[in-house]
Point group: C2
Chain length 215, copies 2
DNA sequence: AACTTATCGATAAAAAAATATTGAATAGCC
DNA sequence: GGCTATTCAATATTTTTTTATCGATAAGTT
């Protein structure tokens, strides 16, 4: 199920983490070794090297990887240099927060508009909130590739279907439900309940001593 | 690194998904089989059964699991019935969205307050936003177990250290950085960049046909 | 120039996870 | 009451992922 051409799903999850780490490095750092990255991130050095091998071949013995090159290669691979466009369905607290966030452009994501059924919202947030009924029309103009779902759970599947029929190719789902979609549509669930479950479960598990990355 | 007593990390990730699915069932449904859950969620039935075996032994041949019992068992296991308390550091768009969301109580999470350095925010959102300088004092009173970080990347490690010194035992990190913490503190990264990477990468990978869960 | 050490990359081994197989239990049916 | 179909649970197999090992390469050192 979770398969991808070339890189494994777990590797794909770690790549942005490496990129973050590279960004956090002081700019006078010119080179970095896989072992150093592994040590900093509490990972296995061979794993880091294998992961990086998927996106780069600029590593040299005794030297490591040139930071700026590796960074660019990672960003390229992750698509941060090509801009994808998105629309949001559900302009509640979370939807509006994402709409206003602004930090996604650095990741190559531009959020064009948000839709909701609540008429008091229309036109607010810089005129970016629209009636849900306008979704089809606007999407036909704007051609967003990504649909972001921030509706309540019971409205999520409907929102999803609507987005798919508006030709969106990928769904980023913040609602705590499992969405059913046709083949050819990618769904990733930003399931906060999962993270809460992990935190909660581990708080109850004494002594707690693990460090998790995403999930 | 990602180890837990009893359940594997992957299983722990799927449990909330099962719970969501059970909740979505019509209330007249009294029983459900692992095979049915697996089919609905596009998973392997043996996997579902093994996962459920960690939290329940109420499954019976030919019958399946009683929905309400299984639901309660999952909620118990995931700690939704015990309330954990949390504070937020960073009252920007995302921080305020989480503070106002209100839906976390269903997962056993109560958000008590948010902290920021921006003085124009103090006292807003129902008096729940406080100056960062007050964090130590308030935490000493409220004893939150969870710290939620929604600061910009460059402030995240500082926020983290502050929370840890205020005796928080778990960190839910929304900032796109890898946090360093002492042993004994749990960190989960709600790394949106990871999800964006997945979406973006797969949009570029034609034809796209996978369905991902969290990550 | 040879030696040492840090590092990459490839291959091999180990561990973990997912999937398949089989057997047992039970409800419904003949 | 015995037969059949469904489903759980235990075991076995396969696949995937992680970790370890080894040889090669290049920078710094003597």
């Amino acid at each position: 199920m979770r398969k991808s051409l070339g890189v494994s799903w777990q590797t794909l999850q770690r790549l942005p983490v490496y990129l973050n780490y590279l960004k956090s490095l002081p700019s006078e750092w010119e080179r970095i070794s896989a072992s150093a990255i592994a040590a900093a991130l509490h990972l296995n050095d061979v794993q880091v090297r294998k992961d990086l091998a998927c996106v780069s071949s600029s590593g040299r013995p005794k030297v490591g990887y040139p930071v700026d090159t590796l960074r660019r290669e990672l960003e390229d691979f992750l698509g941060y240099h090509d801009v994808d466009t998105a629309v949001i369905v559900g302009a509640g607290h979370l939807g509006r927060a994402l709409l206003n966030y602004g930090g996604f452009e650095a990741y190559g994501l531009k959020i064009l508009a948000a839709f909701d059924v609540e008429s008091t919202l229309f036109g607010s947030e810089g005129g970016k909130i629209w009636p849900l009924a306008k979704l089809g029309e606007l999407c036909a103009q704007l051609h967003p590739k990504i649909g972001i779902i921030t509706t309540p759970a019971d409205a999520a599947q409907g929102a999803c279907d609507l987005l798919v029929s508006a030709n969106v190719k990928a769904i980023w789902n913040f609602a705590p439900v499992h969405l059913r979609v046709d083949e050819g549509i990618v769904v990733t669930d930003e399931n906060m309940a999962v993270h809460l479950a992990i935190l909660s479960h581990h708080l109850r598990q004494s002594p707690v001593r693990e460090h998790f990355n995403q999930c």
